[in-house]
């Protein structure tokens, strides 16, 4: 708030998405990449036949979390665009899988990260992409907002 106002701002330098709240997002996305990835790896390796659809979706979710983590950390314009795509897929995924797991419970004999709208993970999988999109889009809309 008390930052220097006279920033020249010639070429719109790419704003950092990997500091402030962005660093918290990197942390939470990293944790989800780790937990979803490890879980999917164990499930696919030991009992893939039990719930192939659920385990494949878990692996897909893990991959998206991992890409989002790396994109947020890299903080280049291209990685920001890719992160927006990841968050969008995530939001659509958690809503679609959440609805599907309630409508067709038989297809999901075992839980995925996104089952029941992420209930097993405290609904964080549902809230996380919303915060992510807000952060990424806010940064591109508001020009010289000094980070808090």
């Amino acid at each position: 708030m008390m930052d220097v106002q006279q920033q020249p701002a010639p070429a719109p330098a790419p704003r950092r998405i990997n500091a402030g709240i962005g660093r918290v997002l990197i942390w939470v996305y990293g944790l989800f990449a780790l937990s979803a990835g490890a879980r999917a790896a164990v499930q696919i390796a030991t009992k893939f036949h039990v719930a192939p659809l659920a385990y494949t979706l878990s692996a897909l979710a893990a991959l998206i979390y991992l890409v989002a983590t790396v994109c947020l950390a890299r903080s280049t314009p291209a990685s920001r665009r890719l992160a927006i795509i990841c968050c969008s897929i995530e939001l659509v995924g958690v809503i679609a899988v959440g609805a599907a797991s309630i409508i067709w419970p038989a297809s999901f004999p075992d839980a995925t990260v996104w089952s029941d709208f992420g209930q097993g993970y405290g609904y964080v999988p549902l809230i996380l992409p919303m915060i992510g999109l807000w952060w990424l889009l806010r940064r591109s809309a508001a020009p010289a907002t000094p980070s808090e």
Binding site: A19, G20, I21, R23, V24, I26, W27, V28, G30, L31, L34, S35, A38, R39, V42, A45, T46, E148
Partner: protein, 123 residues
């Protein structure tokens, strides 16, 4: 009812993790960066986690069968990695968001204590 580790060690780890989280949330509300003592708390948490894991591994060597060994090892790895990873990330963020990182760390570690015990007994 086989316990992975002495109950007091599990309770101590969970309590330290939750106290850290509560303190970190307080700092976030006050818009304060993490204090040195908060980082020291994370170090204490990691020491407790290491002690807990060593005890569990000793009992595994003694012949306890975890129902799902692969999952158990996964949780053990996450349990040991989370405090130092969050510590490093929070050090890079000397703002209230650094405190937020520690808050997440404490909550996740407390959940992992519970999950470790569940995976150990196969509940």
């Amino acid at each position: 009812m086989v316990c992975a580790v002495p109950e007091f060690l599990r309770i101590a780890t969970a309590v330290v993790a939750l106290l850290l989280a509560a303190w970190a949330i307080y700092l976030v509300i006050r818009s304060r960066p993490p204090r040195p003592a908060l980082f020291a708390g994370v170090a204490v948490l990691e020491l407790l986690a290491v002690a807990l894991v060593i005890t569990a591994l000793v009992r595994l060597a003694d012949g306890h069968k975890a129902p799902d060994p692969a999952t158990f090892i996964g949780y053990v790895a996450a349990f040991l990695v989370v405090p130092p990873a969050g510590f490093a990330l929070a050090r890079m963020e000397p703002t209230k968001w650094g405190s937020a990182i520690i808050a997440v760390l404490g909550i996740v570690e407390a959940i992992l204590v519970v999950r470790l015990q569940q995976v150990w007994t196969g509940v």
